[in-house]
């Protein structure tokens, strides 16, 4: 009984729904005028904001460009400091030169061993010699005379040991002729090695290429795009002038942004 009354109500309401959804009421003409007026106001507010936003963004871009350009011009000589690099070379121990001067015993190191095992071998000096031509093979890295020299070649499982200063040239497959890597383990008597020899043995380290500011900025931007953490500090790289310039540009940009936000706050 109760259910049938609800069903009746539902059917009545459906009928009412049909009648009312298509029903229209008269609308005062003033309503559209008011809507139009409001739409115009909204449009009027939006247009200058867009124009100004574009102008401000261009101004900010120009400002940043000028700032960075000015800095770069005033610091061109700081980018590559040759004298500094020369000093570094003279004070640093060469990586491919004599690493240790503690003599005791020569050791033969097999090819399968890692570089860790080379480093951990005590009291043995190691000379690495990489040659790419025949000439350089003829003149191996200078070492103290009368020393036992161990030459380790890259030939698999065939380390060649010599008692003297001599080198052995072995026939090698064509693929290995172009580039050859020889590591020599030398037992050095430090008292015999003169200072001049040491200096001569230094192979100058190729100067570390310093990227231009633009390249560093691009690199950081690439990091930012990839979603990696960005380290803007790398742009400074120990230059206080650049630090100041960056701060100035950043402050100007933030101030500009705040002015824009304040001006167009609705």
């Amino acid at each position: 009984m109760k259910k049938s009354s609800i069903d009746n109500w539902n059917s009545i309401e459906k009928k009412w729904q049909e009648k009312l959804t298509s029903h229209e009421e008269e609308v005062p003409a003033a309503i559209w005028d008011q809507i139009e007026k409001k739409l115009d106001e909204k449009k009027g507010r939006a247009i200058p904001f867009i124009i100004n936003r574009k102008q401000w963004s261009w101004a900010a871009i120009l400002l940043i460009s000028f700032g960075l350009g000015w800095w770069q011009l005033s610091n061109t000589d700081a980018l590559i400091d040759h004298s500094n690099i020369a000093n570094q070379i003279s004070t640093q121990a060469p990586k491919s030169g004599v690493e240790s001067t503690l003599p005791e015993q020569a050791e033969v190191v097999g090819l399968g061993e890692t570089s860790e095992s080379y480093d951990s071998a005590p009291k043995v000096a190691r000379v690495s010699h990489h040659s790419s031509s025949k000439e350089s093979q003829d003149s191996p890295a200078p070492v103290a005379s009368n020393m036992p020299v161990i030459i380790e070649s890259n030939t698999p499982n065939n380390p060649v040991i010599l008692a003297d200063n001599r080198t052995i040239e072995k026939e090698k497959p064509a693929s290995l002729v172009k580039e050859e890597s020889i590591e020599m383990l030398i037992d050095i008597q430090p008292s015999q090695a003169s200072n001049s020899e040491k200096e001569n043995s230094y192979v100058p380290e190729p100067s570390k290429k310093r990227h231009s500011l633009f390249a560093r900025v691009v690199k950081q931007l690439k990091h930012a795009i990839d979603g990696d953490p960005v380290d803007w500090q790398t742009l400074k790289q120990g230059d206080p002038k650049l630090e100041n310039s960056i701060h100035q540009v950043a402050n100007t940009y933030i101030k500009t942004e705040q002015v824009v936000q304040r001006t167009f706050q609705f």
């Binding site: 309401e13 229209e24 008269e26 309503i31 809507i35 739409l39």
Partner: protein, 182 residues
């Protein structure tokens, strides 16, 4: 082709033009829908400035948020939803509570056959005579077709309150009709 849409060939073109804030297209949308939407607003808010305000603000929202219309469902239905929401907001502002007094369902008798033959004006007048809370739930359930769960969510009330208020609204309507017939 619907002559009301001219110079646009179909509703999609009209909506696209509205999305570009074409004033002519906006006016056509208004002309097509304003009458129906006015009826919706009046059904919730009664005759008066509130309904006109709701209509105006509703159309501002329609034109402002037309980019959100994805073409799922009818355009008219989308506008109607906005108008209903706008009317509910107006009701809330006028401190109408939808969860008042009752928490039980009323035993309804069979509705009169006369209900079936009522004209639109009479139906509208009957609904408008309901207290705002009952009227809102009756409109949402019986005319707009929302479920009790949806109504409870929209008005922040319990489902039971929605059901009980609907049965109370039906009872009042039945009594009103009896009064009219007598």
């Amino acid at each position: 082709m619907n002559k009301n849409l001219l110079p646009f060939h179909n509703e999609e073109e009209l909506i696209e033009a509205c999305q570009k804030q074409d004033r002519r297209a906006q006016h056509i949308v208004y002309q097509i829908n304003a009458g129906k939407m006015m009826a919706v607003c009046k059904r919730y808010l009664g005759v008066g400035p509130d309904a006109e305000d709701a209509l105006m603000e509703g159309f501002m929202k329609v034109f402002g948020k037309i980019d959100n219309f994805q073409g799922q469902g009818s355009f008219e239905g989308w506008i109607r939803k906005i108008m209903v929401n706008e009317s509910l907001m107006k009701l809330r502002k006028s401190a109408n509570r939808f969860d008042q007094d009752i928490d039980e369902t009323y035993d309804l008798g069979h509705p009169e056959d006369a209900f079936m033959h009522l004209g639109v004006e009479d139906i509208q007048n009957l609904i408008l005579e309901l207290p705002p809370g009952y009227r809102t739930i009756f409109n949402l359930y019986a005319i707009e077709g929302y479920s009790h769960v949806e109504i409870a969510d929209m008005l922040q009330i319990s489902e039971g309150t929605s059901k009980s208020q609907l049965s109370r609204a039906r009872q009042i309507l039945q009594n009103k009709l009896k009064e009219l017939q007598a």
